[in-house]
């Protein structure tokens, strides 16, 4: 197997976090909650810097499902950012979104895919799409940076106009492989 440069994104030619930020803005998202992931670093910074968005750090990912429901009750749109390992934390609370038909837009950066150097990331990473589907969440995937804007936009439409729980999983190919080497 060909070894990629550690710590470097494999598809960094396009500023896909900025494209996702534009997609969220164009769909009127006002509350963006997150448990940080290195793959979401730039998008989190863009949301914090955006005066029209409330950036809400969470202690655990399922908090963001409640936040999104409350936002919708109050007439606002929310998005929830996490790493794939956080999907397992969300499972029971997904009932809030699916039972009440709340819009839920989750943007999930993938770990445990090709090139992962931390074996502890692999079980939840590999189980992420199936876990989401079994929880009643539609799953879209972004494999190429050039697809990010359109795919997140399509997911937002389905979530907010279709009153549906939707996840966009963002390939580890876009994010790069965590190298576990200094400097970080």
């Amino acid at each position: 197997m060909r070894r990629k440069t550690p710590g470097k994104a494999l598809d960094s030619s396009l500023d896909w976090p900025a494209a996702i930020h534009r997609a969220l803005k164009s769909h009127g998202v006002r509350q963006v909650s997150y448990v940080p992931d290195a793959g979401h670093k730039r998008l989190i910074e863009l949301c914090h810097a955006d005066g029209s968005m409330a950036a809400v750090p969470l202690t655990t990912e399922e908090e963001g499902i409640g936040l999104a429901a409350g936002a919708w009750l109050g007439g606002e749109r929310a998005a929830l950012l996490m790493q794939s390992s956080g999907v397992g934390n969300c499972v029971n609370v997904l009932t809030l979104a699916t039972n009440c038909k709340f819009p839920l837009l989750m943007l999930i950066t993938m770990r445990g895919e090709k090139g992962e150097l931390n074996p502890w990331q692999i079980p939840m990473g590999q189980a992420t799409p199936e876990t989401l589907r079994r929880g009643g969440v539609r799953v879209f995937r972004v494999d190429r940076a050039t697809d990010a804007f359109a795919r997140v936009g399509a997911a937002a439409l389905l979530a907010f106009d279709g009153h549906t729980a939707v996840a966009v999983t963002i390939s580890q190919r876009l994010i790069g492989i965590k190298s576990f080497q200094e400097p970080r």
Binding site: G28, R30, G70, W72
Partner: protein, 204 residues
């Protein structure tokens, strides 16, 4: 030491003449208590998603900064979402209040003791998370102050109300989550769910 507070009386006192306050009720007895005080379209009662009540309150408070938002929940539900107190402490919405009806028991599952029965001080946790006000309430003479706090004072505020553990009759809210959501949004936003098209809310 005064007689133990009764949860139904507390909730009734807090929600009487409720004005335009928005209410989220945590699953189990707290939702039944809010329903017993009067089912209302601007009360969103939970039947599941344990641990989520305070975060729903936060999302609502951020979306509706001019409205008062009250979360009424139980000690077990609050314990499952303790991290949400830290997340609220970061945002510090001044229109949010949380009332925990603390009977020190898991009332729906056989009255097992919760952590508060062993001394966990939820109000101290909320205070440490940066709430503007956090206190334990034990007597009926304090309820008027709680009412003033949730309806008028600067938040976020947290009241851990110690209540008796005697069971109350079930008074159940509607069970259909989509119905509960739609009636809440209709009452608050004044528009039909059918008009939720992207064109009326896209800002860009």
């Amino acid at each position: 030491m005064s007689a133990a507070l009764h949860r139904r009386d507390v909730v009734k006192a807090l929600l009487q003449d409720r004005g335009d306050i928005l209410v989220v009720a945590g699953l189990g007895s707290s939702a039944w208590d809010c329903t017993a005080a009067g089912d209302h379209p601007l009360t969103f009662p939970l039947w599941g998603a344990m641990g989520s009540a305070c975060m729903i309150g936060l999302g609502l408070a951020l979306a509706q900064p001019r409205r008062r938002v009250l979360v009424v929940t139980g000690d077990g539900e609050m314990l499952m979402g303790l991290g949400s107190l830290a997340s609220i402490g970061v945002q510090r919405p001044d229109n949010l209040a949380i009332v925990v009806l603390d009977n020190e028991r898991y009332g729906e599952t056989g009255m097992q003791k919760t952590h508060t029965a062993y001394g966990t001080d939820l109000a101290a946790i909320a205070a440490a998370c940066g709430f503007a006000k956090a206190e334990i309430i034990r007597s009926v003479s304090q309820i008027a102050g709680v009412r003033a706090g949730i309806h008028r004072a600067e938040g976020p505020r947290f009241y851990q109300v110690k209540v008796a553990s005697d069971p109350d009759p079930l008074v159940l809210p509607p069970r259909d989550g989509a119905y509960l959501k739609h009636r809440f949004r209709d009452a608050l936003l004044g528009r039909s769910p059918a008009t939720d098209s992207v064109t009326d809310s896209v800002t860009d």
